[in-house]
């Protein structure tokens, strides 16, 4: 029983650390907004959004812990943890459902290709394509890879990584444009000496 007590303490401590990290991420978001008096532009907007989402991510586990231990007044009954048996057989998603999902994926692909025919503004096209691709990825992960029918704790282990990856996209894509603006103005005709890798290579 002593072992179980230690483990309970460890879990509590871990959740407090996570809550502190969530608070820290939230503070960074607030500091960003305040220190630039909301005039920072899209760079600040992305940083604020990313920090808020990170705060939410960090807060998920403590919130679940709090709900399970009845720290919220509303939920009084504690869920009985199911005893671990052999690996459960999942019967999620019959054949028909999978074909429907496949059809949806084809449809979304068709939308993307049709959009390519319309000469949209590049940033708008990129945003729409990324959003559609994220929807397609979510469908594949949830249904084909069966994650929708797995245990919630496994979902919570995998999905936040992918969310953080997309947040990183959200930071790096706009930041790349800043790299473009940092270049010195140059003539387009000549090959600049400080161009990326083909320095010194003659273009025939």
């Amino acid at each position: 029983m002593e072992k179980s007590n230690d483990r309970e303490k460890e879990i509590k401590r871990m959740n407090l650390v996570l809550l502190a990290l969530a608070g820290l991420a939230f503070l960074v978001a607030v500091w960003t907004a305040v220190s630039n008096q909301l005039k920072g532009g899209t760079d600040d907007l992305f940083l604020i959004l990313v920090c808020l989402l990170l705060a939410l991510l960090f807060a998920i586990n403590p919130l679940i812990y709090a709900k399970q231990n009845g720290l919220f007044a509303a939920s009084a009954d504690e869920e009985e943890p199911a005893p671990a048996h052999e690996i459960e057989e999942h019967h999620g998603g019959g054949n028909r459902e999978n074909v429907v999902i496949w059809g949806g994926l084809l449809g979304l692909t068709a939308v993307e290709v049709v959009l390519a025919y319309i000469h949209l503004h590049a940033a708008l096209m990129l945003t729409i394509l990324m959003l559609l691709s994220i929807v397609k990825a979510a469908l594949i992960v949830a249904y084909f890879m069966h994650l929708k029918f797995e245990r919630f704790s496994l979902v919570m282990t995998i999905v936040p990584t992918l969310i953080v990856l997309f947040l990183l996209f959200g930071i790096f894509f706009p930041d790349s444009r800043r790299a473009h603006d940092l270049r010195p103005a140059m003539e387009v005709q000549q090959q600049p000496a400080d161009n990326e890798s083909s320095a010194g290579e003659e273009e025939k």
Binding site: I87, E89, N98, S153
Partner: protein
């Protein structure tokens, strides 16, 4: 597989249990998928950096044949994901023969993808003259000052993806060939890898092909 004792929530990580109710092979594959998706994410971010910070960037993919070709490749890969799902379903129903057939269908689609992609590579390398570090003279003329790194971005990203498809086909070949030795769980784990390969293509296709469409009039 050891049968787990009845345990409380806190003791789930004490050993002798399956914390996520999945086998260790499946969990291992999921962790690998998370890591590999970060790798592909990094490559795509690098591509974004190189492209958006360049003065000019080639957009050489005409609707016919390039975009139609790559759309067909996308459909092939999506269909392979569907056949893989059927294979896993058949394996769960202990229908080994059907599972093997569906896996071979998946392999067929994967091999088709590789063949189509290799054909495109051949066209770009031999016919157009694209290398990882230099644009063909025609392109350098069409898009003046364009970054010569188009080739490295294109070949790097699609090449790594094609490598994943190739190893996936080999992996599926082993599973299909010795299906009697494998459980339904093993088939499902191989399915996870295959769906991941498809998932990556869902991002590579729009970002590399659809963002580089050639709108210039003419053939």
């Amino acid at each position: 597989m050891a049968e787990a004792k009845a345990v409380s929530l806190a003791d789930e990580w004490g050993g002798g249990t399956f914390p996520y109710r999945v086998s260790h092979r499946k969990l291992g594959m999921w962790l690998f998928i998370m890591s590999d998706s970060l790798t592909f994410g990094v490559l795509l971010m690098t591509y974004a950096y190189v492209r958006l910070s360049s003065v000019n960037w080639p957009t050489p993919f005409k609707f016919h044949p390039s975009v139609t070709f790559s759309t067909v490749m996308t459909l092939v890969l999506l269909s392979s994901s569907l056949t893989m799902v059927f294979a896993v379903a058949a394996a769960k129903k202990r229908d080994r023969k059907k599972a093997r057939l569906w896996i071979m269908a998946t392999m067929f689609f994967g091999a088709t993808f590789i063949a189509l992609h290799s054909y495109e590579w051949h066209h770009l390398i031999v016919d157009e003259g694209l290398t990882p570090f230099q644009l063909p003279a025609e392109w350098a003329h069409e898009w003046p000052g364009a970054s010569p790194l188009f080739g490295s971005a294109f070949f790097g990203i699609t090449g790594l993806h094609m490598f994943h498809v190739f190893t996936g086909v080999c992996y599926l070949g082993v599973i299909a060939g010795r299906i009697r030795k494998f459980t339904a769980d093993d088939v499902e784990v191989s399915g996870l890898y295959w769906h991941f390969v498809d998932l990556v293509w869902m991002f590579v296709f729009p970002l590399i092909y659809l963002m580089s469409v050639d709108f210039r009039p003419g053939p």
